[in-house]
């Protein structure tokens, strides 16, 4: 049984509404995680390429905050693990509760908002109760249903980020303003003192309908317009423009300076900022061409359209199972054994039989040009199935942290799939870091490594499912 009660002052209520609006641009549902001293609201988009998370700290965001867990002998509540509680709620329902509640110069303006949640397996009805305490003694109560959820976090290791810029959201919005409304992607690179943002759309067009071709817009801003910018020259990195717009729009309302961190294309990029006790982080998958022998960076200079070529048309779900051999890179090393679904986390497809991936067999990831599909499972690496080496985290882990913790600790509840690993040849030790399975005992359905000699093939969703129906 767990209970959560919290109170919000009107300013925080406005902030919360803004946060929910921002989250609604990523997903239909918001995942709510309560911990002893923080409340985390997060959303993962349907293609799993963008993850938005807002951590509201107990102080100073809330006027009052209390969270208690009493563990029953029979831990029937699947959504309570350790000293946390999580659930998910439809954003539409939550937004309608908070819409237009504040800043009315009416007698009945909201003075305080109380939220309460008690989950008890003995109760037949568990609801999230929202009470708006208004002037003149008016109290408006809302009861919202919620559902248990398996909370997923995108993992991003800031210490490994090699590129970083900090900018005012208003400056970023001025850049966005030039883009066509229908543009879908945003390519960023820097070139001799300029930071170039290009919007483009990857769309296969019929030859006839030339006029419906998307407009390419590029904006070259002086690097000095950033508060800080430290990025590799001529490295193109592309993200969804819609996600970027959502972040900038919210950062602007929060009046917070945005920091972007990333390493290289096809690795996640994180946009982050803090405001008034809220810590916002957006982890977004990037696309582009990984630097390598196939495409020297210098050849890109002065080719703004390149972004379109280097990022093949979005792979539709039906095409996802295409073997890697069809990817556009001509000098690609032999494809890894077997095709595999690129979105294994969703799915109902059969188990994969992945051949052992010895380091020597691996294609040199740096030479691969790939489209991404999922934030959590980049398409270019079979090693995503490997168990994470705990002590020595390779650069840029992109993986699951189903526990909600940023650090993989020794707790048995932590399961992590290394979705992506070593790309950096400058760190030889990383290549030697063979996958290890220190926590194999905890993964009940996974056969031990010795027996099968293959990396884990269990889908994360299924593993979660185990917990759900125990």
């Amino acid at each position: 049984m767990s209970s959560l009660t919290l109170s919000l002052a009107p300013p925080a209520l406005v902030r919360l509404h803004d946060v929910l609006i921002c989250l609604s641009k990523f997903s239909d549902t918001v995942a709510i995680e309560a911990e002893h001293d923080l409340l985390r609201l997060s959303a993962l988009n349907s293609t799993k390429t963008a993850f938005a998370s807002f951590v509201c700290e107990r102080e100073p965001f809330f006027e009052a905050y209390s969270f208690n867990v009493r563990r029953d002998i029979r831990s029937s509540s699947s959504s309570t693990a350790g000293d946390r509680f999580y659930c998910q709620i439809l954003l539409k329902a939550l937004l309608s509760v908070f819409r237009g509640r504040v800043d009315r110069n009416k007698d009945t303006a909201v003075e305080r908002c109380d939220m309460e949640l008690h989950e008890d397996p003995q109760e037949t009805e568990c609801r999230l109760t929202v009470k708006m305490i208004c002037g003149l003694g008016v109290i408006k109560s809302y009861k919202l249903t919620y559902e248990p959820a398996s909370i997923q976090h995108a993992v991003f290791d800031r210490s490994r980020a090699t590129n970083q810029w900090i900018a005012d959201p208003r400056f970023l919005r001025q850049i966005i303003d030039h883009f066509s409304l229908s543009a879908e992607q945003l390519d960023m690179y820097s070139d001799s003192g300029k930071a170039v943002f290009t919007s483009f759309t990857t769309k296969i067009m019929e030859g006839k309908e030339v006029l419906k071709y998307p407009v390419h817009t590029s904006v070259a801003a002086d690097k000095r317009d950033f508060e800080e910018i430290l990025i590799e020259d001529n490295m193109h990195i592309a993200i969804n423009l819609k996600d970027f717009k959502a972040v900038v729009a919210h950062a602007e309302t929060a009046n917070a300076t945005v920091t972007a961190r990333y390493t290289q294309p096809c690795k996640p990029l994180q946009l982050a900022y803090d405001f008034e006790g809220v810590n916002a982080e957006f982890t977004i998958m990037t696309r582009g061409e990984v630097e390598g022998e196939t495409a020297p960076a210098s050849s890109r200079v002065g080719m703004p359209q390149l972004s379109q070529r280097q990022t093949p048309a979005p792979i539709s779900v039906s095409r996802i199972n295409t073997p890697r051999g069809v990817t556009p890179s001509t000098q690609m090393p032999p494809p890894p054994p077997r095709s595999r679904p690129i979105r294994p986390l969703n799915g109902s497809s059969t188990q994969e039989h992945l051949a052992p991936t010895a380091a020597s067999d691996r294609p040199s990831a740096s030479s691969v040009s790939m489209d991404y599909d999922s934030l959590f499972v980049p398409a270019d690496d079979d090693r995503q199935w490997d168990e994470m080496e705990e002590q020595e985290e390779p650069q840029d882990i992109l993986g699951w942290d189903a526990s909600g913790r940023q650090v993989c600790d020794s707790s048995g509840s932590v399961q992590r799939l290394a979705a992506d690993k070593i790309q950096d040849n400058s760190e030889p030790t990383l290549q030697e870091a063979e996958p290890d399975f220190p926590k194999m005992a905890d993964m009940r359905r996974r056969p031990p490594k010795d027996e099968m000699g293959v990396p884990p093939t269990q889908r994360m969703s299924q593993v979660r499912g185990l917990g759900l129906f125990d």
């Binding site: 900090i166 208003r170 400056f171 030039h178 407009v215 590029s218 070259a220 002086d222 508060e227």
Partner: protein, 353 residues
Amino acid sequence: MRFRTQLKNTRTFSKLTASLSSLGKVCWMRLEHDVVRFTIIPDQGTQVWAQIPVDTIFDEDSYQIESNSDAINIEINVSVLTRALRSTFGASSSQLRLTKKDKMPLLALTVLTTEWTEGNMALATDGAEPGQGDVTGDRRARERETWITQEIPIKILHESAVEGLHEPHCPDPDVHIILPGLAQLKSISDRFTNLASTDSKNRQPGIMASDGPNASAGAGATALSANTAPKLELSANMHGKLRLVIATDELRIASVWSGLVNPPLDPAHISQEQYSQLPSERMRGVGDDDESGWAKVRIDGKDWSRVLSVGRLSPKVVACFINEMALVLYVYLPGSWNGEESCLTYYINSFTT
């Protein structure tokens, strides 16, 4: 084939394209040595033929055009062009040129802005660490340069593809009159259209029965099934009067303007004898209060509203009425009143009853 120019009056250019785009997305743009022509011929509704002298929107000194046929014909999505031109607002220089990328022709708009609009001074005021104070100061003092490139996909039309396109031929007008301010005309027209459409939506059988004397209930029903949009009746006479009417089964509203100008026709083009033969002169002879002196057209309210969006250019508009047949609008941009210079011609067909 070559085309390159610096832009000037980008606000005007942008307003022009915005007005055009309300009628249709696909625009035929014809670049000639002296004039630029924009033509939109939608499948349905009003067509517009615009002729703009080069120096109205382009800088003549930098205007370069090279083509075998002395003209370049381009098909362009004019709303995309409008959107792209927004980047030129407040810019210190803007260039438009024809180019090619991957064998695809493009109209490339390159814009240099040397400063952002308001708000730039606030940059880096929050969140800047104390150690960055100097950098911040430097940033403020500096002129900020930003390059913006908009690449608009276009289609090059061969001269033979556009040979068959001609402006519609119309009989001489029965009435020609200068329209009142388009803002006023548009707001009244729009209100009439809305009234009539909500009226026809809310109509219930019970109410139908109550409007006894109005025998046109049956006619209204057929009109609804044929074309649900209510029709505006626009009429004018040669005595400076313009009348706007909306009529449905339940309501009939009319606005009348008087004291408008019936401009004289250019005597250079027609002889005195021809002049007296013109239908408009005949109409002038009819008395002010005689209904037969009015020429009337029936037009679609929505379409009319789109036409009137040209009001953003604050032009002078001469409306030529061809009774029960068509309405032709000659829209003159400000500053070119005394010539056939910047002129947009709208051809609006009249609906039959």
